[in-house]
């Protein structure tokens, strides 16, 4: 056990850079040696409220290309903040190597301590160890890639005009959620190499450019190929629409393809964050809670500071009940932290029920090791479906509600009793299954022999079709990028019956 503190780190709420340094140096051994966290090196940056607003409007990244939608974000956030309707986050952390932590200058010394424990150790450990992040993101290269993206798009604006670039970006943003490879295990992307590759390709194109080639007659068109072969050749069916357009869009210029690629890779980079929200926040919250408690136990922070921490911590993990009037779904902090604290309880002080449910971890007496394994190998869906305990279901009094279109009333399917535990757990896990949150839309065929219509299919589950007005707008963008007609049919997953059909023609003159 580490020695007690000679004196508290701080007593007032003021902080300076040497204090932040001391705080960090006090927390570091607790996190690395006692909890054995494995983190990227940290870089702590102090920023002002205005810079935090800036960061908000570029999805938290320190640099980003220019687009009006970020300006829209900015004016909304600024307005809410100025009016006092919304506070700003105390910190922002970026999944990069080194891991960049933004701390707000307005935070008190206690809050800075909390935030360092939360972001610099909690989130950082999660980013570095969780399998989804390891599989999908390249922490080392992301900043370089964003730099490249920003420069490339600025260059395109110079070459082809701001409006032309903005049109492509608008269309690509609309399809951003359909720009992700969901299933195959991909090799980690090397974003730096990506940027170099494009530069090289551009240089090569410039070098070999010869106007003469324009005048060479083109050979006769190949005969139509049978549909199966054609689909195989095009790599269909394809769920990543942006990828498909980038590779096969018949009328796109190469810079337009590159912009689609940029948007697609950035969407891919953020994809893990969407599947691990509760776990990520849970991991960070659990880490800061544990570190702050240890700091207090050993006298590094005063009782007053600890009270301040507890108050802010409680606010963060507050979960309103469904009928409280301000319920808006599960609070990811609360869900993650709740389950993780419960795992600690199961490890330290299991009941018979816990032993029946969680035989492998109950009573293991080493909660941090168990949690570290969980942080590394699960995402929200699997995490909930494995570790939501009957104890928690009772404590939160969860119940499962079913709303069938054919029935006039809602039905309570399960409550917190012996019959309901597993059903509630399964249902909650399904809510976190990203494949169920998002519509399953795929490119299924292209009418190559005829008018080049691009055919898409939405596999409708539970009879929930697409939001019609938005779908029409997105299809317009898609048709513009494709250059020919686009048809989307919504097909029931069970009986393959077509429920709805959208068609869209490209706007003339859209592609320059």
């Amino acid at each position: 056990m580490a020695a007690l503190a000679p004196a508290p780190l701080f007593t007032g709420s003021d902080w300076d850079f040497s204090l932040i340094n001391r705080i960090y140096e006090t927390i570091e051994p607790i996190a690395l040696q006692e909890m054995k966290l494995n983190i990227y090196p940290n870089q702590i940056e102090i920023i002002s409220a205005e810079q935090m607003l800036d960061a908000y409007s570029s999805i938290g990244m320190p640099l980003f290309y220019k687009h009006w939608s970020f300006g829209k974000q900015f004016v909304t956030n600024e307005m809410l903040y100025r009016k006092g309707l919304r506070g700003l986050a105390y910190e922002l952390v970026i999944n990069s190597d080194p891991c960049i932590n933004y701390l707000m200058q307005e935070n008190s010394a206690t809050m800075q301590t909390l935030v360092i424990a939360h972001a610099a150790f909690g989130h950082n450990h999660f980013f570095k160890n969780n399998y989804v992040f390891r599989q999908w993101t390249d922490a080392e290269g992301i900043l370089d890639y964003l730099e490249f993206a920003k420069r490339y798009i600025a260059q395109c604006e110079e070459r082809y005009g701001q409006l032309a670039v903005e049109r492509v970006l608008d269309a690509a943003h609309a399809l951003m959620n359909q720009g992700v490879h969901r299933y195959p295990r991909v090799r980690p992307r090397d974003m730096k190499a990506e940027a170099e590759r494009e530069a090289e390709r551009q240089a090569y194109r410039d070098r070999i450019y010869d106007d003469l080639w324009r005048t060479v007659p083109v050979g006769a068109k190949a005969a139509a190929v049978p549909s199966d072969e054609r689909r195989a050749a095009l790599g269909l069916p394809q769920e990543n629409i942006l990828y498909f357009l980038e590779k096969t869009g018949p009328r796109l210029e190469s810079w337009q393809r590159e912009i689609l690629r940029i948007v697609r890779l950035i969407a891919q980079y953020f994809y893990p964050q969407r599947q691990t929200k509760a776990m990520n926040e849970g991991c960070a919250t659990y880490t800061h809670y544990r570190i702050m408690t240890i700091l207090h136990d050993r006298g590094w922070i005063t009782d007053g500071a600890f009270m301040e921490f507890i108050q802010s911590h409680t606010n963060v993990v507050y979960q309103p009940t469904f009928d409280s009037g301000h319920f808006s779904g599960f609070n990811p902090y609360s869900l993650g932290f709740g389950i993780m604290s419960d795992i600690e309880r199961i490890c330290m002080d299991p009941s018979q029920e816990d032993r029946d449910w969680f035989g492998d971890i109950a009573g293991s007496r080493d909660p941090v090791e168990v949690l570290k394994d969980i942080w590394a190998n699960y995402r929200d869906e699997s995490f909930v479906s494995q570790f939501l305990s009957p104890h928690l279901i009772r404590q939160w009094r969860l119940f499962h509600l079913l709303d069938r279109e054919s029935e006039s009333e809602l039905r309570v399917e399960a409550i917190h009793d012996e019959r309901g535990y597993r059903r509630i757990r399964r249902a909650l896990a399904r809510e976190y299954d990203i494949a169920r949150q998002e519509p399953d839309i795929q490119v299924v065929d292209v009418d190559l022999a005829g008018d080049r219509t691009l055919m898409l299919e939405h596999i409708v589950t539970d009879g929930v079709v697409l939001d019609a007005s938005d779908a029409a707008m997105v299809l317009q963008s898609l048709a513009n990028l494709w250059g020919y007609e686009v048809a989307l049919s919504e097909v029931d997953a069970e009986n393959r019956k077509e429920l709805k059909n959208h068609r869209c023609q490209p706007q003339p003159g859209w592609i320059g």
């Binding site: 970020f70 249902a427 707008m473």
Partner: protein, 436 residues
């Protein structure tokens, strides 16, 4: 671990995005800005403000599942009374318990704050003084600079490095400054002799000669500088006077007893807009304020907008004053002259003939554009506009028909001021300047 203090980094990273957003929503934002005028007092015209635009104007669509329809399930916390198999009435709003948060944005209007600059830009967008044709060189008004070769003196920031190096090189060649290569060659020769194991007979002499030569070279190199102050050349710029279109705007306002408080408010609002427009969009526009009862006086801005004099009405007095001021200070040969007049149109019938003749014979020939605004009583807003006419209106009507640069409008409500103002000063394409 590094700590970096970013607070001093330049802010405004989002400025470009913000501007692009405003450009994107421009049509909606301008409409909102114009609408917001209704609620503002004269003094607040040019303040920053909050505006609201419809959210769908800037909607970013995505493919997502509809908020209604189909089968849905949901796990919720805080069960108090439900048992398995209970039936609950579907709450209002269709999806009810099934609608997922975060699905679909709320359809509220989109509110945000504009700075004063942004506000005015949109507010005065697309307005201009018509027909600003007379341009003249004005003494003391220097607009631009242009390059004018090189000079031997100047500001260090204007130093032309290529030109300086060129001069230095020609001087070095002319004065035969030994190059570094010469020195190196001698050094090598010396080293070669010194390195010989067995000296040749004339080595001592050769060495002596080489050393002398070396000392000479070094001395010459020191005497003749690589770059000398005489080599320095600076880029030179000279100021260029540019012709300026000088313009003067005469604001004529009737403040006689027949003008009610409401009418004065309307007239003042109109001139406040006009003044704002001129002071913001034109650097070289003089504004002359004249108010009149049965006598006219040139007044300053403060008096014009806030004084409370009153009396009878004699429109010709204001026109006389106008002509007088023009003769005195604003020669029609050099100045673009604009006139805006506001009145309730209630004038002595005997004066009308003189007004018309002054107008046609003296004023219209020298002015580029004359706008007459007739303010009416609020309570008769709709009826009056349609039916009755006033003495001055009747007198002006034939003038307006024969003269293209004379425009007249009626206003009887605050909300009409801005549209009429826009109509009078709308930017017009070449050749389509007609009286609407």
């Amino acid at each position: 671990m590094h700590i970096v203090d970013r607070r001093l980094n330049p802010g405004g990273k989002s400025l470009v995005n913000r501007q692009r957003f405003l450009r994107r929503a421009r049509a909606y934002v301008s409409q909102a800005v114009r609408d917001s005028l209704k609620d503002r007092s004269i003094k607040d015209l040019a303040k920053e403000g909050e505006i609201t635009i419809r959210r769908d104007a800037i909607h970013e669509p995505t493919l997502h599942r509809a908020a209604k329809g189909g089968n849905r399930e949901r796990v919720l916390p805080g069960n108090r009374e439900f048992l398995e198999g209970d039936r609950i009435k579907r709450p209002d709003g269709g999806g009810g318990g099934g609608s997922q948060p975060g699905e679909g944005e709320d359809q509220d209007d989109f509110r945000f704050a504009l700075s004063r600059e942004e506000f005015l830009d949109l507010f005065l967008d697309d307005l201009e003084l018509p027909d600003m044709a007379k341009k003249k060189l004005v003494a003391g008004k220097i607009e631009g600079v242009r390059r004018a070769g090189y000079s031997t003196i100047g500001n260090p920031s204007n130093l032309s490095v290529p030109r300086t190096m060129q001069k230095a090189m020609s001087r070095r060649i002319a004065l035969r400054r030994p190059s570094g290569r010469d020195l190196k060659r001698i050094d090598e020769a010396i080293a070669e002799i010194e390195a010989r194991a067995k000296p040749l007979p004339d080595d001592a002499v050769a060495l002596e000669r080489l050393r002398e030569e070396r000392a000479h070279v070094v001395r010459r190199r020191n005497l003749i500088a690589y770059i000398d102050p005489v080599d320095l050349r600076f880029r030179r710029f000279e100021p260029v006077p540019r012709p300026v279109a000088q313009a003067v705007m005469f604001c004529l306002m009737d403040v006689s007893g027949s003008m009610t408080a409401h009418m004065k408010d309307l007239a003042k609002r109109f001139f406040a807009l006009l003044h704002l427009f001129l002071s913001r969009c034109y650097e070289h526009v003089d504004v002359v304020f004249i108010h009149h009862t049965d006598r006219a006086a040139e007044v300053d801005e403060e008096t014009f907008f806030y004084s409370t004099v009153t009396g009878g009405t004699l429109v010709s007095s204001a026109l006389d004053k106008l002509i007088e001021v023009v003769k005195e200070r604003y020669s029609p040969n050099d100045w673009n002259i604009y006139v805006a007049q506001a009145s309730d149109g209630d004038t002595l019938a005997s004066d009308n003939a003189r007004v018309v003749s002054l107008m046609q014979d003296d004023i219209l020939p020298f002015c580029q554009y004359f706008a007459y605004l007739e303010v009416g009583r609020e309570e008769f807003a709709s009826i009056e506009a349609a039916t009755s006419t006033t003495g001055l209106w009747d007198a002006y009507a034939p003038v307006s028909e024969s003269q293209r640069h004379f425009a007249m409008r009626k206003v009887s409500h605050r909300r009409e001021i801005y549209p009429v103002f826009r109509e009078l000063f709308q930017r017009r394409g070449v050749g389509e300047r007609t009286r609407a």
